[in-house]
Amino acid sequence: MSGWYDANLVLVQSTFVGLLLALSVQVPLRMGVFSFAGVGSYAIGAYTAAIVVIRWEAPALLAIAAGALLASFVGWLLALLLHRLGGLYLGMATVAFDLILSVVTTNGGELTGGPTGLFGVIADISMAQIIGVTLIVVLLLAASERGRIGRRVEAVRDDPELAAAMGINVRRYRQAAFVVSGLLGGCAGAINVLLRTTVGPADIGFGLVVLALTMIIIGGAKSWLGALIGAVVFTWLPSILAVVGEWQQIIYGTIVALAAIWVPGGVLGLVTDAYRGIQQRRRLKELAAAGAADVVEDHGADEEDLAVLEELAQESPVERQR
């Protein structure tokens, strides 16, 4: 076991970084905000941590915190700036933001190391710290998928008008999406640079946007678990596909394309759908046994939506009082 761990240490570490990066793009998507600013936050986090460590020999956790906080601040500014945009326009505006950062770092002179980037970022980061940060992030996000906040987030995504009518401050939720995305992206970038000791403009191009997006799409866009599945798959897939040699990239691309077309809910969506299907069939069977199957056909999704609405309706007076 420990032999395997040592041999695959780089991949294990990359899985955590990949998970944080995927989450930074997933959080806004979960609120219906089509933003890829998480990748830009990754760049900000990476460069901030690198600069802090090189110039002042800051300890690892402090460097991560600096990167994450600066990235989330920039995310907040971006939210204020882009609040009028939605859909594809927002998506492309944030991609433009990411890529401008890579041009800026290329031209940053001594501060960012220009086209070659920064080297020798050596800090005392340990696996326990990485796991700790990731665990806190995942626990908080998992909490945000349940109960009240979870229902509100769902409402903001699926029907912003309805959510607003229910008294949810949609704009504030959207801003929060940008800020959280900045925090997570910044964390991912900072951790990565502390592990790899280098960062350059080439690390933060359009390819990183595609990687983060494919992780979420393959894993599942609706829950942190999907991002985890995606991060594991796409960190390990290249080394597994190395077996097929020169066909690696072609197979990789085919998998992404097929998944995007035929499995929009990702692996997680497939699993939950199958689980629900089994449950529903069992329920129908029980009902059929009771002789009432003809009354209850074709529910499932509608029933769930109704439940969400009812719960929201119960909640709204509280929101209104604020």
């Binding site: 890529l99 997006l213 995007a260």
Partner: protein, 296 residues
């Protein structure tokens, strides 16, 4: 100075040929095809493979590139975008899924070309065509540059005219305004969508071959950079406006040339990304846009 202007116009013409198809598909049938850059590159690559074995004149190479581009684009529409449109529950999810599927599909031709060329630039050295340079005082213009400029302007203006005048053009524009009402009025959306993607792919293939002739060789990765530039051009001109694309393409090329000649050259890529942000922030509908951007 005048030389820079000529180069900028030639560059703008390549941008125009590339962005024209993307803009047509996005502005009418609402498909933002991220595989457009990959189709562009792969058409030139397919022509390169054939030219390597058979010595062909330029016209044949251009025809091959255009046909390959049109076929690929049609295949992407039939096998990727149509299934998504059939299954998606609303327009917003379909839009996003099409974007992602486009990015995914684009990886495959890129990977094939990279594998084959080992990511080295490829060109039409096997073609019987030889570039000639005309010298007028200090000014140097190649016959390819002239061909590119003329073709881009003819096709750009022709497409704009076709959309304005022809029956199919009218039907396409009506889809862009309200696709449901247009289909009630008897517009065959599927047929027109296929036609649009066919034309868009053909233009991408044409642009790919011409750029390869113009530069001598291109890398497999050149499609990716062009996608984002084309996006900047379309946003600048206004989604759905062909006149906007024509103006946008030359404005971007001129702006990039100015930056290239005035600075160290490392800032060139920031021009298109900066344009996207600026236009989206201050004039969301672009220079010639006809409709408002959907609010969040």
């Amino acid at each position: 100075m005048l030389q820079d202007l000529v180069n900028a116009v030639a560059l703008g013409s390549i941008y125009l040929l590339f962005a024209l198809g993307m803009s047509l598909a996005w502005g009418t049938i609402g498909i933002l095809n991220f595989a457009h850059g990959s189709i562009f590159m792969f058409s030139a690559f397919a022509a390169y493979l054939i030219v390597n074995n058979v010595r062909l004149p330029m016209v044949a190479v251009i025809a091959i590139g255009t046909l390959v581009g049109a076929a690929l684009s049609l295949a992407v529409q039939v096998f990727a975008f149509e299934p998504i449109l059939r299954r998606a529950k609303d327009h917003r999810t379909a839009e996003m899924q099409i974007l992602i599927a486009g990015i995914g599909v684009a990886i495959v031709p890129l990977a094939i070309a990279q594998e084959n060329t080992k990511s080295n630039p490829f060109g039409f050295t096997g073609s019987s065509f030889k570039a000639t340079t005309y010298v007028l005082g200090d000014l140097r213009v190649t016959n390819i540059q002239i061909l590119v400029i003329v073709l881009a302007l003819v096709l750009g203006l022709g497409l704009a005219r076709w959309l304005q005048v022809s029956r199919n053009g009218l039907a396409l524009r009506s889809i862009g305004v309200d696709s449901e009402v247009s289909s009630i009025m008897g517009v065959d959306r599927r047929r027109l969508a296929l036609l649009t993607m066919l034309v868009a792919g053909g233009l991408a293939g044409l642009a790919g071959v011409l750029l390869t002739y113009n530069l001598g060789a291109i890398t497999p990765e050149s499609g990716e950079a062009l996608i984002l530039k084309a996006f900047a051009i379309i946003i600048l001109g206004g989604v759905g406006s062909i006149a906007g694309v024509i103006v946008g393409a030359y404005v971007l090329a001129l702006a990039e040339t100015v930056v290239l000649t005035q600075t160290s050259g490392l800032w060139v890529d920031a021009v298109s990304f900066g344009l996207i942000l600026l236009v989206l922030l201050f004039k969301t509908e672009g220079l010639f846009g006809r409709r408002e951007v959907r609010r969040a």
